[in-house]
């Protein structure tokens, strides 16, 4: 290659880069293609998340392509392969399994595609693989539950001392661990007199939670002043168990989580004291906003958590709005 050819090539490359570079750096959300890989069409939370995501992303002019798996990690891995093949401007991913997704995250990173993880965060040690995480914080959820418990003790004139019990989700799962930790942290810091006197697994299941609560009421006895159930459906089981044990549920400080329909109804009729709001609509919106900002070249925080508002009878309408009821 002679000198003039080389110069021409260099000039052409520079010109091309000059045109292409700003275009690449500020590709812009409008008209970009984004692939959302999500988990199921059958759960209400997931459906609301997906709808909210699409609404916000479409309003920003993003072309959204959705791939859904029914919590099948192997299927999601092949959907990731396919998504990479389509070379989108960005990928938004709700991991079907926060461990099994890690090798796929590395593939997305290697393909140079910006990635927003939504709802379930894989272990932080792999944080290099994603650009942004948006979603709920289980620790924050538990902390709000702790605040609600203290507030409930004050309102029911129990003061700052008494025994409570916890009905937990499936043992070993991140929400089970982090929600209990959040609650215990807050109690340890602000209300040392409120003591966790027992814990049982309700496995996110109402029937199992009924048995778990019955065992706790027998074990701790009539001293129980409050119950924290890590999900509202499990709280329904706690209420059944309390009634069977001859305890009036309305006399206890019952704190649930998730703002699900059972919880809302129980709060409205006065049996449950509070729940912690985790809005599927916000969950979807946060992910959409993050990917739009990312494509528009704006600076985006690495972790964006949903607020975990405490819901009692006074503001239960917030719950309805957040769930889109």
């Amino acid at each position: 290659m002679n000198f003039s050819k080389l110069t021409k090539l260099a000039l052409a490359t520079t010109a091309f880069m000059g045109l292409a570079m700003p275009d690449m750096a500020f590709a812009g959300a409008k008209g970009s293609k984004v692939i959302l890989l999500t988990v199921t069409e059958e759960c209400e939370y997931c459906a609301l998340h997906q709808r909210a995501f699409k609404e916000v992303a479409s309003a920003a002019g993003v072309d959204v392509d959705v791939k859904i798996t029914n919590y099948d990690a192997a299927e999601q891995a092949s959907q990731v392969d396919q998504a990479i093949a389509q070379n989108p401007a960005a990928i938004v991913l709700w991991p079907a399994d926060a461990s099994a997704i890690v090798p796929s995250l590395r593939k997305i990173k290697q393909a140079g595609i910006p990635l927003v993880i939504t709802n379930s965060k894989p272990d932080d040690k792999y944080a290099d693989y994603w650009s942004v995480f948006t979603g709920p914080s289980d620790l924050g959820n538990g902390q709000s539950a702790g605040e609600a418990m203290i507030k409930g003790f004050a309102e029911k004139k129990f003061g700052t001392e008494g025994k409570i019990v916890i009905v937990e989700g499936v043992p070993g799962t991140p929400p089970q661990i982090a929600r209990s930790k959040g609650l215990e942290d807050v109690l340890g810091e602000k209300a040392k007199g409120i003591v966790v006197a027992g814990k049982q697994n309700g496995n996110w299941d109402q029937t199992k939670a009924t048995d778990a609560a019955a065992a706790l009421f027998t074990q701790v006895g009539p001293d129980v002043k409050g119950v924290y159930a890590q999900a509202d459906n499990m709280m329904s089981g706690v209420i059944v168990a309390a009634k069977r044990a001859g305890i009036d549920p309305a006399s206890l400080v019952l704190v649930g989580s998730n703002c699900s329909i059972e919880g809302v109804n129980q709060i409205k009729d006065g049996t449950q004291y509070a729940t912690v709001l985790q809005s599927p609509i916000d969950d979807g919106k946060y992910a959409a906003n993050a990917v739009v900002d990312l494509l528009d070249g704006k600076k985006v925080e690495k972790e964006i958590y949903l607020p975990h508002e405490i819901i009692t009878k006074a503001n239960v309408s917030d719950c309805d709005a957040a769930i889109g009821r």
């Binding site: 859904i68 192997a74 092949s78 959907q79 093949a85 399994d97």
Partner: protein, 318 residues
């Protein structure tokens, strides 16, 4: 090659053409790689299961075996995955042999026996996992297995293809392979004419369990994790792949080549529909339609076409 097989190959090619013209990205190297990755999992399970079907039996436990295979690999192979794989394979051989023993010794329907082993294996998987997802930080074996080879393959898909080749050679060119086919269609006649019925059953059930365990083991390395629920819908997909490929539920007919075509038809269809933006439930629906269509085609159109061929041949020879 029979008319039915040719029809299936035509269907596969037609699907590829339709999807490629709909979206050219379908035939891109990376998408074919993605497709082959799905095939690597489904094909291996379908291959093992179909051998039991060809021998006139059925192995419902393959789905749970995938989960157990994956979990055993990670749980026992914490420091050495190769050791974990060996444990998983040895366990699969034992389960396959146990299934075959009960079926042949006590003359119980394999449907009943393997429903039992399916539930037992599922329970064992939940016990192994202890209510959690077992994961490992050792990603290297998975990356090595999944790294693209010649753009569209990976070791995982090449292993599955090699398994098809071996099974094809085994059923076509060995006496045992012939026995397996014969006992599928006419067991009593086969036994009277000296076919080794018992041994054949042991071989097919062991291969079936081994293929499922291998699929689970490779998958767990690929995902660097394993769960008790993995593979829960794989058994039905594998049965579909075998039937779509032309393996009869009544036994005696079909070959690894047919299962290969059946698995590819399902994977191509699922990949193409997903590329078109269809959701999981829509794809499941489409799978059902194709399965029913193929079964009807076998009964009606297949017979009609065979008649036409026979008639035209008769005319020519007259």
């Amino acid at each position: 090659m029979s008319t039915a097989t040719l029809l299936r190959i035509a269907l596969l090619i037609a699907l590829i053409i339709v999807f490629a013209s709909w979206n050219p990205a379908f035939v891109s190297g990376r998408n074919i790689y993605a497709l082959m990755q799905s095939f690597a999992l489904l094909g291996l399970v379908a291959l093992g299961l179909s051998l039991t079907m060809i021998a006139g039996e059925f192995d419902l436990s393959v789905g749970s075996m995938v989960a157990v295979g994956g979990l055993l690999t990670l749980v026992t192979g914490e420091s050495n995955l190769a050791y974990g794989m060996c444990v998983a394979f040895a366990f699969a051989v034992a389960i396959g042999a146990a299934n075959a023993f009960v079926v042949s010794r006590f003359n119980v329907s394999s449907l009943v026996v393997t429903v039992g082993s399916m539930m037992a294996l599922s329970g064992f998987a939940f016990w192994l996992a202890g209510g959690k997802v077992i994961s490992t930080d050792n990603f290297d074996p998975g990356f090595a297995l999944d790294n693209p080879i010649l753009t569209i393959f990976s070791w995982r898909s090449l292993i599955t293809l090699a398994a098809f080749l071996l099974a094809g050679l085994f059923t076509r060119h060995t006496l045992m392979g012939r026995d397996i086919r014969v006992i599928g269609s006419k067991r009593l006649v086969a036994a009277a004419s000296g076919a080794k019925v018992g041994l054949s059953l042991f071989i097919v059930f062991i291969i079936s369990a081994l293929c499922a365990a291998m699929a689970g083991s490779l998958l767990s390395m690929s995902l660097a994790s394993a769960a008790a629920t993995t593979g829960s819908n794989l058994m039905l997909q594998a049965v579909s792949a075998a039937i779509v490929g032309g393996v009869a539920l009544s036994g005696g007919s079909g070959s690894p080549l047919h299962v290969l075509i059946g698995s590819l038809i399902l994977t191509v269809m699922n990949n193409g529909l997903s590329l078109m933006g269809m959701g999981a439930t829509g794809i499941l629906f489409a799978n059902g339609l194709v399965l029913m269509g193929i079964v009807l085609l076998d009964g009606q159109l297949g017979a009609w076409m065979s008649e036409r061929f026979a008639a035209s041949r008769a005319r020519h020879s007259a």
